[in-house]
Symmetry: C3
């Protein structure tokens, strides 16, 4: 393996200058200087810029793998929260969905989201074609992904990171519609979500689209990723209807998860993954900014967990483990939009409120007989909306943190005396993304309903999807008790 | 820790050349040179120092996330080693404890541990206030965390890393007192441990306190983290008494864990996490030092596992899986204090002895009818004491490894002909930390006992904490056999 | 996000100063400049080269830990795919095997694989002795690991990374011979595999041996790691014979795994680990190359999963979860040899074919009554052969990707018009490695058979290895149904 030697670089520029100099000694000095600084070992032509590109690449690969690992987190979380007879189905869905996301996002999604084009969607860069960002040259970018131009890492690394995000949106959906959807239906829906819906609204906010230009801010995706996944899941859950026996005479019947050990593991993997999700969204390693985001992200998660524990204890009478898990996740979703823009103290409040909200949201959604087996709508949709609003409430505004830079970043939040403008902008974004996602997903779900169908047969649901859809069971050799709610 | 200073380097060569030059063009040249080196692309003002800060930040964030992930390791390890009827309780405790640690360590603990102040404890920097370390400026530090000044990364990143360590201490305790403690009692104790006890003794050793000045060395926390957690757990286990039915007529009744699959997963996650715990404690990326620490850490873990397997096979008649797990962990705890100071060969010995000791320690502690469901006292307290002594026995002494630097680092160990001095210093530290931690924790446990109580009711213990404390069970739909020991 | 622009940086200050100066002061300035650039803080003498070594070290430590974590992946995968009564045995084997690998590879394996010596094996560097690579000095290397000289990171870090690979080979074997092998027998075999067999063939390909010189290419180990593990497992499975009751009257009796939740987790951990396995094999952080490898690796995994799902659905009638898992793993194994040498489109094809092949391979191997409980032979041996051939079919050839460098790297592949030469070279390598590994492993298995024996007694097998070999069970407190196939 050789180190990159491509670029014409600094050395040349300096040699040009050198030709204007007269005194021979200067030339000698120059050579020595250039040799010492630029070519510290024979054959090396690396510069500080090369190091910056290398560090940023390492940073994004590191955080991207953390976000990829969130697939394992969601997989364990959702599987454990559902009933044993559908465990294989949930495991299989969560495993294959990233594979499908990879193809859909590569072929279409990434281009729509980050390609140049209209304010509504990107129109080129399909199949990851087009000029690379050419970071190592230090030259002005001349490719077709202008909205990602500010990051100097290779295009493939940007794609890897963004793909991990897109996969997250798809995997959120699977929780809300679990235990009754057809295997194939979920896959086709996922392809449409990752190929079209997610990247279109993503383009508006991160791809140089109209919401970005308007001044809507969502640092790491409370809206872009979580609300979108939440809306898609909500529409799916509504269209599917509740699981058999989930509501009897208007009263909810608990269908407890079959393996809270793996659910808790899933929560901890997701917490870990969020240290990639939020700090990694910088796409460049700015030490102060990353330190700040780590702090706010963890503060919000902690307070989300504490808030949900106390709320559940007071409101439900017991420190319910699934509420603690969902509280931590709500805290994480809640800080995602604002993690770089709010003070640590604000992040404590944002998390606390998220943790309190999620307990009531679960109860509220259940009271509408919307059956969300894992609480995905409460965590990701409600938490995502809260997090997006939090920018308009708590943002410190420009010229406070150095990484805001050049006046970009949200205006000061309402609660910090910055006026109501940013909050209104955030509201516009929430409503716009909601409108599009609900419309698009409704259409896709509807078409799927009248074609291949959404829901398995009642018999299959009663027996369990593992046997009926996959012909196998998750825990062979371990007996089952009588089933719940079917 | 000092940065590598070995090489005779470029700077010298350039100064030699410079002394031969004069004349005005030198100035022009100088400007060009400065521009080329410092501003390698338009608008860039980055320097080699910026790169160093960026790399160190990435290093500490990477290793910090590994240490954070140890929460998942402890959670799986402890839950799997306990009985099924208390699984939800253990999962919930291990999940929420990091949230509580976050708040306690931010508000109080970090300031006490690393703030400037008395030799006994830090007195400023509460709530992470005070001047930042300002690494990116390259200016002399003028804040209030002098004991962390040697590391050039942002203060928030230092806090994140240290928080992950503090959380580890708290989570060690939960294993030793499992299956009988009240949920709320554990939380309050954790707040005191992370807010006061852990940081006070931590200040002595890592925060510029009296033990550090005396010459006591604990590189990554055999005493600071593991022994402290172990002592706290021991006192808790003593105060609580054994689980119901654990000892009948003076004879121990085995209460086997309910899920060794997740316990083994937990062990592997902890092994992984230790590659952050020990090498990350450098807080700066010194390649040679990190390579060395990786080697010694892994060697000790491997020999700990092998030693415990063989010992258990010979002594107990079977290669007991829980002993293999605890042997690996004991090897890891055992090398933690000395990983940067001992040779690879010594690390093999340290691990081997730790793996042998842990098997006998488990038996010994059990013979005293101290009920430690997961072996936390044997691994973390006994292993931590052994590891701390190992510095005094095996340390190579100054001027062997370049990262020792300027005569800092422990004296040569007794077994390497360095005399007994370092061993005595290590003993002083062990005794001092033990005395304080035992006294402090006894007081807190005692106050909790007479106020809200330590232990659940016998009925609750018999039914299991999952139903009685949380109103749910971990494995819904999977039947239970008759219970052990209740 | 902008890069930090806050600070009124050195460049500006220097230019301002420069304009006020002339003549003799220039010399003084020059000294200052040199100090500022090279030694930006007192005592610092760091250069761009130092940064490169630091970044590469961080890269290899990061990817090495990912590969290490694959131990947890294999452990969960294999344990879940086997029967409950042997769970402790599988957990213990997968846990201790890395400890044994550490010792064997340190003492012997690494020296044989990368030490200087004959084209057939390395002959020095045992116990990791010998001159270090001394990267930080920038001097020409003068040690005894010439085949690793191209990477500038410390020797210990190279060892750590390569050890993680060696451990992988050993852990592959444990799956194929599960549920009937003696505990001690497996260990002794592992020592021979990691100490001799794996490093000898590894020396041929990565250590400067005869296959490397011939022009055989295996970027990250389709042959070096996976086929070798697969061959060792195949011979073991043949020598052991099938599990009791696995074939009745020539018809296979399914023995389903007992915990597909942890198997799926294992698959996701392995997928994650492969982002270390393949990109990390660069041993130096080349951004473009890493981005490319991430892309091809993930593409192949995704298409492997999709290919296996569809094939299983069509061929077996159901989207079998274990086939999805094995499809993803086959896709990963399949791209391992060629990940840096093929186009993204090719990687899609390579993965797709791997995913299709694995389904038929499982059926085919089963039809020969070779009992491989977890499908390790199909995934690692068949997938490894396919992956090695894929280099000869799909390699883009030199002068396409900048990281090929100076004409090194495989010739163009047959399907890309590069002729048949590389394919033949790959075939030679596959055959040579197969011949040696089969011969060596047959000998070791045979000697073990006639000495301590390979297989547990039929009674022990029927009762389960957990009780008979370890005296414990994995899921205490959870009842069992009647057992399969015994």
């Amino acid at each position: 393996m050789k180190r990159p030697t491509a670029k014409p670089s600094i050395g040349l520029r300096r040699r040009k200058w050198a030709s204007r100099l007269s005194f021979p000694l200067a030339i000698a000095l120059l050579v020595v200087c250039a040799t010492a600084v630029i070519a510290t070992e024979p054959g090396s032509t690396e510069s500080v810029l090369d190091m910056r590109v290398a560090i940023d690449t390492l940073w994004v690969v590191f955080t991207g793998t953390l976000v990829f690992f969130m697939n394992a987190g969601f997989c364990m979380l959702e599987t454990g929260f559902c009933r044993r007879k559908n465990a294989v189905n949930l495991l299989a869905k969560n495993l294959i969905v990233f594979a499908l996301s990879t193809i859909a996002y590569w072929a279409i999604g990434f281009a729509i989201m980050f390609g140049d084009g209209a304010p509504w969607l990107g129109l080129n860069g399909f199949f990851l074609t087009g000029a690379d960002n050419s970071p190592a040259t230090g030259e002005a970018y001349s490719g077709i992904f202008h909205s990602l131009n500010w990051a100097g890492i290779p295009l493939e690394v940007k794609f890897f990171f963004q793909l991990a995000f897109a996969g997250t949106a798809a995997t959120i959906v699977s929780g809300a519609i679990a235990e009754r959807i057809k295997f194939l239906t979920f896959f086709i829906f996922s392809l449409f979500l990752v190929g079209f819906s997610y990247p279109i609204t993503g383009h508006w906010i991160w791809g140089g689209g109209w919401l970005q230009k308007l001044g809507f801010w969502d640092f790491a995706g409370s809206t872009v990723v979580h609300s979108v996944g939440g809306w898609a899941g909500l529409i799916g859950a509504l269209m599917l209807g509740p699981r058999l026996g989930r509501y009897k005479n208007g009263i909810g019947v608990a269908m407890p998860g079959h393996n809270l050990a793996i659910s808790t593991l899933g929560c901890l993997i997701l917490w870990l993954g969020w240290f990639g999700f939020n700090p990694g969204s910088t796409l460049t390693l700015n030490p102060r900014e990353i330190g700040h985001i780590l702090l706010t992200t963890n503060f919000s998660a902690a307070m989300g967990g504490i808030g949900a524990t106390i709320t559940a204890w007071l409101y439900l009478g017991k420190p319910d483990l699934s509420m603690i898990i969902n509280g931590i996740l709500a805290g994480l979703v809640g800080i995602t939009a604002s993690c770089a823009f709010v003070s640590p103290i604000s992040s404590l409040l944002i998390g606390l409120i998220a943790g309190i909200i999620v307990v009531f949201a679960v109860t509220f959604i259940d009271s509408w007989q919307i059956d969300d087996p894992v609480g995905a709508i409460s965590v990701h949709l409600v938490g995502g909306i809260w997090g997006t609003l939090a920018v308009g409430l708590f943002s410190v505004g420009p010229n406070i943190y150095p990484w805001y830079g050049n006046g970009t970043g949200p205006l000061g939040g309402l609660l910090l005396g910055g006026g109501i403008q940013q909050l209104l902008l955030q509201l516009i974004g929430i409503v716009a993304v909601a409108a599009f996602t609900v419309a698009f997903c409704s259409l896709v779900w509807l078409v799927l309903k009248v074609t291949i169908g959404l829901r398995v047969t009642p018999t299959a649901e009663q027996i369990g999807l593992d046997i009926t859809e996959h012909g196998m069971e998750a825990y062979s050799g371990i007996p089952e008790t009588d089933d719940f709610g079917a």
